[in-house]
Symmetry: C2
Subunit: 617 residues, 2 copies
């Protein structure tokens, strides 16, 4: 195990980072599929196919600790470590793996636990067969005679690589951006091989805007006279202007407007020159530099093929006949989706769309949206929370397979009541699930299939580490809007809303929503009719404060206070049946509460609700 | 006056529109500035300079009804009407003015009232002198020997045009996108000529992302071998590929991702061809068509000069030495800013930045943010609310000059109390100002200088029509965040919060905020301590409902209820002095309320607050 000192750029700040690393690594090349590969287009790519790959960590005895990492558009197999030692004087990390922040000893993908594989995908130019390779049939470079490929073709090659390495199961496939698309394809094509997928900053199908940007980039390459109808290598030329323009366009889409303002703003290199064909702004010069650098490290035809594969990517159409739910019905693996708040290339709404579909298909799905300023590139840069979430998810998934020993759980009065209500094996949604203690309790006691919804990032990660399905979401946004989380009618047997309803913007609407998405609801709330609260207001003339309602009126999250009687009236008005009621009081005994004057004596109330009309069930 | 039947595209829907129009119009060309024009760069553009312009409506006797409309990047002087009659069979409106939706009889810019001028700006290729023009000194076309120009150079030419037309004053300068930038320059360069400016979908300075997109576009043009170092016209060539790529990039930034999904989605023209250099998606084909169309109607060098002028645009640096407030201190005109929710080229936050600065500079400023899906292009497409807002603002501004006769205003108990509190000529902010009745009342009675903040679009337009300054904004976002509305310390003498505080997310924080931005606050609220409310809860055990608090607990906007005593306690805790208190009761008389048991007897309370510490004043 190595330790290095290196520079890390987060937003506008370059900091020195000391960290553990897998150290020196090298890329291997293996030849597979001697008979060739039948592609999605129907064409056959002649074999053998070269695949470049790297591995980190150690394969365990039962080969149950394998994680496949998939790279993005211009990435390579070199995901972690260094190809040569880092220079401690200059901090030169030019050969650092592209996800060094995430992969390594003790990191998000922990190489002390896992055996990690990353391979360069088909069509790229970093060692795996692609347009720059020689066609074994003609002895000449492919150029644009290379067949058009898709993401699933890339995944087929990865599948074969895994087989050649003697591995039968993957604990997880993990990838960001186009890597996320590969992870998705894996989950649908080979659900019997994969246990779980971590899909980061990705989408189920490229949007019209994605295609538009890609198309302009391809247009720029093809319009460059040096492209020579794709035969530039033969003619000793490079369509550098076209490729550079394509990269510049791409680069803008990887950043956020805010991060560009912070990095460059309107800074000029040498003041205004009033020269019409001069590069004057720092951002122009930076993009120009990025374009140039890319020309030196990437192949123009590869760029055409890879962006085309991305544009073709459409899970919904390919596997779902237009319905994304159908896609997720084809798999049984566990998903973790991660998005970033300022990513406008594959925005959070597109991750939520997948979460909604996976949920509708009844799959195990978790989601976290990470606040960041670095746009789409955040998945490579803002890695702190990303790393924690991946680690919690992967470690729990691994532990689950090793026969998890449940921690001792909290014994709480309300947990016991809820346990009694819920039937074995029910499908349960906990709104505002916090650290997930109740769901862990119910998992043990009642073998429920559950998912929690929680707004707090740290609680979400806590839930992930317990192996729970958890969705990072603001309940106030509801479950109906296509741009947010959508939940289908009667998707659950029970929705639990524990002391949360009084904190929501529209408690009335939420009540209708939860009885739309669930057969039954278990709603607990503090009773504002509790006699001590009434007397406080009456006698002191101030808003009451109690152990159940501990906040001052001006900063309380409890924005819709109500009494037990108010609640009963609302349910009546909405045609909601209160099937069971439990009263909790610290002062009076439960019997007394439920028999006489519950609205006066109960501090907390737990109700079980459903619609009167059984046709709604 | 003509009436036409024409097609209109809104989002994805093409509808037939019957409407009144200025009818057949033609573009005039005038020669001005025979001595030439000294440019911002220091260079002199030789005279005379051609200016293409159109006018609509009739100049009134005192020439007080003139409105200058400024066009955007690729626009022309042809803003309204038709260059030839529209074909009622085919609805062919190819020669329709670019803002026909907004300019015409009875429309947003009402040609029944106003005399409207629109001129093609300097550097363009639609009749006004630009790179395609012949340099009078050499007898050859300028090409890239045309001097580099800025937005203020364009405005100088417009200023001279107005003078030549015998006009001394402009009621308003109105423009969207780059047209908005011209309106801004006008307001700073010639405040003595302009009464008001309507600045739509614009910014005070182009962002790094704006510059980046423009720079890539210019790069594409210059990289095209047919550009021939700018001398393509001489050589009989056109850098069509480069210009087309530049336009495609621009076009993507004018639309929103959502509008592209609605228009094109992932639709293919002829199914998947698996052809690497083929145009397959409809969005690709559409962009290609837009690029081609543009090549036929626009000059590549003009594109370079105009985008450069846009990139140079930075009011803050040019007039404010880095402080946008200083810029607005240089003018005394009235502003209306308009932004569109899905505009990501010049997003709402950039309009709010200007609103904040104008407010800090003590200027008359109004703002409306319009919900739309069409991105930056919304200002040309989603014109319904835009039109109403412009009309309300322009008509009120015009009427003001014609000596406004105040409508009779409402006489309300609370208005009279507030009138007594506020001193003549104070600077007043009304939070949640509704239709502006209170501010109209105070304008008449106390000659206050005022601004209202209101979240409802229709109320905002109502305020505009009353000639009030009004800002369309959600108070819950506060007044501190750089991305939202920022208000400086002690910017006002009085902030009025009339029965709004209990509806806010954080009443405690808001109270601090208003006493930061204002010397005094007038806060009125319903008293939850009112005896009838207390008794309702005590005896009925339900949340009270009254005329002051008319909502049910589950859908009430009153999310932070409190008693008069709670409020007094909060003020004490925060070091806020309650300078005056007025009690309103329908049952008890005022005297009784204020002397005995106000917390029991008052239904509504009006308080005047300031910080104890006078150094805060």
């Amino acid at each position: 195990m190595y330790k290095v000192l290196r520079k890390k750029r987060t937003g506008n700040i370059i900091e020195e980072v000391k960290g553990e690393t897998v150290g020196l690594v090298k890329t291997n090349i293996i030849q597979i599929l001697p008979e060739g590969l039948e592609l999605e287009s129907g064409e056959v790519l002649p074999g053998p196919i070269d695949v470049a790959y790297e591995t980190y960590g150690t394969l365990n005895e039962d080969k149950s600790n394998v994680i496949l990492v998939c790279h993005a558009l211009s990435g390579s197999a070199h995901a972690a470590g260094y190809h040569r030692m880092i220079d401690e004087e200059t901090f030169d990390g030019a050969t650092e793996g592209w996800w060094e922040d995430i992969i390594g000893p003790g990191k998000g993908i922990d190489t002390n636990k896992f055996f990690v594989i990353c391979s360069n995908f088909l069509g790229s130019c970093y060692g795996t067969t692609g347009p720059t390779s020689v066609n074994p049939k003609t002895g000449k470079r492919y150029g644009i005679t290379f067949p058009t490929i898709t993401i699933s073709d890339m995944v087929k090659v990865q599948r074969e690589l895994i087989r050649q390495l003697g591995i039968e199961k993957l604990l997880a496939v993990v990838g960001g951006s186009m890597g996320g698309m590969q992870a998705l394809e894996w989950s649908i094509m080979y659900p019997e091989v994969v246990e779980s997928a971590v899909v980061i900053a990705a989408t189920a199908s490229c949007s019209a805007q994605n295609i538009a940007f890609d198309a302009v980039g391809r247009n720029a390459i093809i319009s460059d006279p040096n492209w020579e109808n794709g035969e530039y290598l033969e003619k000793g030329k490079v369509p550098s202007k076209g490729l550079s323009i394509a990269r510049m366009i791409g680069h803008i889409t990887y950043l956020s407007s805010k991060s560009m303002d912070l990095k460059f703003g309107r800074k000029l290199i040498n003041g205004k020159t009033y020269d019409i064909d001069n590069i004057e702004f720092e951002v122009e010069s930076y993009l120009g530099y990025q374009g140039e650098k890319f020309v030196n490290r990437f192949d123009a035809n590869s760029y055409l093929y890879i962006t085309k594969a991305m544009d073709y990517f459409d899970l919904t159409e390919k596997y779902g006949n237009g319905d994304l739910k159908e896609v997720f019905r084809k798999t049984n693996i566990k998903f973790l989706f991660i998005s970033f708040s300022t990513d406008w290339l594959f925005p959070p709404s597109e991750s939520l769309e997948m979460v909604s579909a996976a949920l509708a298909a009844g799959k195990d799905v978790s989601y976290i949206n990470i606040e960041s300023i670095n746009g789409h590139d955040s998945f490579l840069i803002d890695t702190e929370i990303e790393s924690k979430a991946i680690k919690a998810f992967l470690d729990a998934t691994f532990q689950e397979k090793q026969n998890r020993k449940e921690k001792t759980y909290e014994r709480r009065k309300d947990f016991e009541i809820i346990e009694r209500i819920i039937e074995e094996g029910s499908r349960v949604l906990d709104l505002g699930c916090g650290d997930g203690e109740l769901l862990v309790y119910l998992r043990e006691k009642k073998k429920v299939r559950s998912v929690g919804i929680e707004i707090d990032t740290n609680e979400v990660i806590e839930c992930l580490s317990k192996g729970l399905n958890v969705i990072h979401y603001d309940i106030n946004k509801g479950f109906k809007d296509k741009n947010f989380l959508e939940i289908e009618d009667k998707a659950f047997d029970y929705v639990i809303v524990s002391k949360t309803i009084q904190q929501l913007k529209s408690p009335g609407l939420l009540l209708e929503e939860i009885l739309r998405i669930s057969k039954n609801a278990i709603v607990s709330f503090p009773n504002f009719g509790y006699y001590k609260l009434r007397l406080q207001l009456l006698l002191k003339g101030t808003m009451p404060v109690s152990s159940e309602l501990p906040y001052s009126w001006f900063d309380t999250p409890n924005i819709h206070l109500f009494t037990y009687r108010d609640f009963v009236n609302l349910c009546k008005a909405k045609g909601i049946k209160i099937k069971q009621t439990f009263f909790i009081s610290r002062v009076f005994n439960k019997e007394m509460c439920s028999k006489i004057l519950p609205n006066l004596l109960a501090e907390e109330v737990i109700t079980v609700l459903s619609y009167e009309d059984s046709s709604n069930k």
